[in-house]
């Protein structure tokens, strides 16, 4: 069963900086855009680029991803044809261990990859919002006769400290890495999307596995080692929208960009669409008193209040005399009457009591409202912040 390329989608991340958003779900399973989960973008890209087989590597709160993906048929994958496999840590003759880092997650699945005898391995992260046809990346890798190709994008200078920064010469050749630098000399950031020649990667993974001082991480260990040993590392400059929703601020910001039309679920240029599991909610209803502008509203919602610049997931209920602006409301939340909310993110199934008023100023990080938060605030008297 030989395949030219095997795709490994890393979906085990904890997403610590997303705070309460990832307290009980994996980062790739965090809801996004009124309907999707973050991993949907990478999965949809994979299927539409015909990048199969795909191994989805899971670890942290793995069941939240497994449940979402199911058989994979929502994206056109099919378990029975070996197109998609969920790869959680498992036991073998030596016992069993957790994945220790991004590279270790691949090392522990060498047997899975080897069965396809691939030339190339495409490594993706399930944490990003973007459309991409990976065939262009693979073609670039072949053209350059590279050992490794890293997809990269120019990010705003103030964000450089969140990324792995790349320096290159004019020939796309990578000359230096800086991992999350305080004062970057370049703003070209790695997107966490790599193509490796499998034989070379395997050799480095095996060596890295024996190094007890290694973090077993692509960005920190494998790539710098390859550069140091004069392997051919090239950059693929990506054009288009790409967002790492790694923080609460960037998560909220990505939603506002969705409302501004900077990113759309269907990309006109690449003809790439975003697929996800459907949830069979009835049509949404705007009732007497309801007024919705510059917002996204999904099935099952009933709205009798005012909604501005906000994203509403399935089955959200907004009662009369309430105003919601610049907010993201997850599935099943209920907003009472005379509620005034601005710049908040409301978690699944949270009930916001009547007369709640929470307006987060632009200088502060948007606030995540959970049931625990609402209860605690009520005890100290009122929800007027």
């Amino acid at each position: 069963m030989k395949k030219e390329c095997v795709t490994m989608l890393l979906a085990g991340g904890v997403g610590k900086r997303l705070g309460k958003l990832t307290s009980n779900i994996a980062k790739p399973a965090v809801p996004f855009g009124g309907k999707y989960r973050i991993i949907d973008f990478a999965l949809s890209n994979c299927m539409q680029s015909n990048m199969t087989p795909v191994g989805v590597v899971t670890q942290y709160q793995a069941h939240t991803i497994h449940q979402h993906i199911g058989s994979g048929n929502a994206w056109g994958f099919d378990h029975s044809k070996n197109k998609l496999t969920l790869l959680s840590p498992f036991t073998n003759v030596n016992g069993g261990e957790w994945y220790e880092g991004t590279a270790d997650a691949i090392t522990k699945n060498i047997d899975y990859i080897d069965q396809f005898q691939p030339e190339y391995v495409l490594i993706l992260s399930g944490d990003h919002i973007y459309h991409m046809d990976y065939n262009k990346l693979i073609a670039h890798h072949k053209n350059m006769q590279a050992d490794v190709t890293i997809s990269a994008i120019h990010v705003p200078w103030e964000d450089t400290r969140r990324f792995g920064i790349i320096h290159r010469n004019t020939q796309f050749e990578i000359t230096e890495f800086e991992e999350k630098p305080m004062h970057a000399k370049s703003n070209l950031a790695s997107m966490g999307i790599y193509v490796f020649n499998w034989d070379i990667l395997k050799e480095y993974l095996n060596k890295d596995n024996e190094n007890i001082n290694s973090n077993h991480d692509f960005g920190k260990d494998i790539l710098p080692k390859m550069l140091q040993q004069n392997k051919k590392l090239y950059v693929f400059p990506f054009q288009g929208y790409w967002k790492d929703v790694g923080t609460i601020e960037s998560y909220w910001e990505a939603h506002m960009e969705l409302l501004d039309g900077e990113f759309t679920e269907f990309n006109q240029d690449s003809h790439l669409f975003t697929y996800t599991q459907n949830l069979d909610f009835p049509p949404h209803q705007i009732m007497e008193g309801g007024h919705v502008t510059k917002s996204i509203v999904n099935d099952g919602c009933t709205i009798a209040g005012i909604i501005q610049n906000s994203v509403l997931f399935e089955n959200v209920h907004v009662n009369k005399y309430s105003t919601i602006s610049q907010s993201v409301i997850h599935q099943g939340a209920t907003i009472g009457r005379y509620v005034d909310l601005e710049r908040v993110i409301i978690q699944e199934n949270v009930i916001i009591p009547d007369y709640t008023s929470i307006k987060v100023p632009v200088t502060e990080e948007p606030l995540i409202l959970t049931n625990e938060y609402i209860l605690a605030e009520q005890k100290v008297g009122g929800l007027n912040i």
Binding site: K35, H284, T293
Partner: protein
């Protein structure tokens, strides 16, 4: 209930839907933003735990077959049982559902079900027939008719008179008694006997054989008390659709505990522009709305431009309504294009119908 097989008999659906059924059958008429008529029948069967369903598709089935696919979206794509689509063929005698049963008998025979639950697609509600099925089986009935005590009279409908115990005394085309909903249970054995008797008479329709023969069988009625919609014309369609804009009616039909499954669509959520003013409306997904929409029902993938007005109207999938267009008391069928100069005004009693793909081909050809 493995003892029961479901039959959706589309041959008995009455069709006075004008251009709504130009190129689709009644069962494939879109309803309530996300659904087709057949979704309600299918879901009621599924809620009744019937996992073997045959459909007599009859005529104009292209749209219906495309919609149903393998039955995957309703969980009916199973190795055993599931969905049997039984298309019409030229050798089936015109307007004879008895002949439809005869020509497809192998499919019914191979099922180990002892009873059949038969329904058309125009009785629209969200329920489970389990209690009727239990009554039918525990009373050892040959036939059980689902009836309503609705006082609103329908033309050409069949009424059922029963005694206090539910025993059926009379079935007729006259309006005296409860209204027959088109949903009934019948023992397989009993059906075989009725079909054999039909062969000896000139009856083409199973219901006509039942009307003459039911007294020889153990026949009961079961009264349905929940809300429902029954439609056989485009005017009734418009009227019933508008009733859904009432919050109680909407919640009654979309009951939370009984999810209505429909064909999966991959639309993104609906987007509202900064000029949108939408009120008292029911809306599907995948729309781009920037105009004024009042007291209307919108299906999926619709674009309403800034400055367009939709009032008391129903807009089907994939319509494009340009800036400046005015639509009131109308039903606009799928894939229609309404330009900025157009003003379409019907009356509430007789809404204007804009047929499927209006203005589309003229712009291409």
């Amino acid at each position: 209930m493995s003892k029961v097989m479901g039959i959706i008999n589309l041959m008995t659906d009455r069709d006075d839907f004008s251009s709504l059924t130009n190129d689709r059958c009644v069962a494939a008429i879109p309803f309530a933003s996300n659904y087709r008529f057949i979704d309600f029948t299918l879901n009621n069967f599924i809620h009744s735990e019937i996992n073997e369903i045959a459909i007599f598709t009859h005529t104009k089935s292209r749209s219906l077959l495309n919609y149903l696919g393998s039955g995957l979206d309703w969980g009916l794509n199973t190795y055993k049982k599931g969905l049997y689509i039984l298309p019409s063929s030229p050798d089936i005698i015109q307007q004879s559902d008895i002949d439809y049963f005869i020509k497809n008998w192998d499919c019914i025979e191979k099922s180990n079900a002892e009873h059949l639950l038969i329904s058309g697609s125009t009785f629209i509600t969200n329920t489970s027939y389990q209690s009727m099925m239990e009554q039918h089986i525990s009373n050892n009935n040959d036939m059980t008719f689902l009836v309503t005590n609705d006082t609103q009279k329908r033309s050409n409908s069949i009424s059922v008179m029963s005694d206090v115990n539910g025993k059926v005394k009379e079935i007729s085309y006259h309006h005296n008694g409860a209204l027959f909903t088109g949903v009934y249970m019948i023992k397989k054995e009993c059906l075989i006997q009725l079909i054999k008797k039909a062969k000896l008479t000139s009856c083409k329709q199973l219901i006509d054989v039942i009307i003459t023969e039911f007294k020889q069988y153990n026949t009961e009625s079961y009264v349905y008390v929940d809300e429902y919609y029954y439609m056989d014309s485009s005017t009734q369609y418009y009227h019933c659709s508008m009733l859904l804009l009432n919050r109680n009616n909407y919640q009654n039909l979309m009951k939370k505990n009984e999810i209505i499954k429909s064909k999966e669509s991959h639309y993104s959520p609906t987007k509202y522009g900064k000029n949108a003013t939408v009120c008292n409306s029911l809306l599907g997904s995948g729309c781009q709305l920037d105009g004024s929409i009042d007291h209307s029902i919108l299906f999926q993938g619709i674009t309403i431009e800034k400055g367009a007005t939709i009032k008391n109207s129903i807009i089907f999938d994939h319509c494009l309504i340009k800036s400046g267009a005015y639509i009131e008391n109308a039903i606009v069928d799928k894939h229609s294009f309404i330009s900025s100069k157009e003003t379409i005004i019907g009356s509430i009693k007789s809404p204007i119908l804009i047929a499927k793909q209006t203005n589309k081909l003229s712009s291409v050809m």
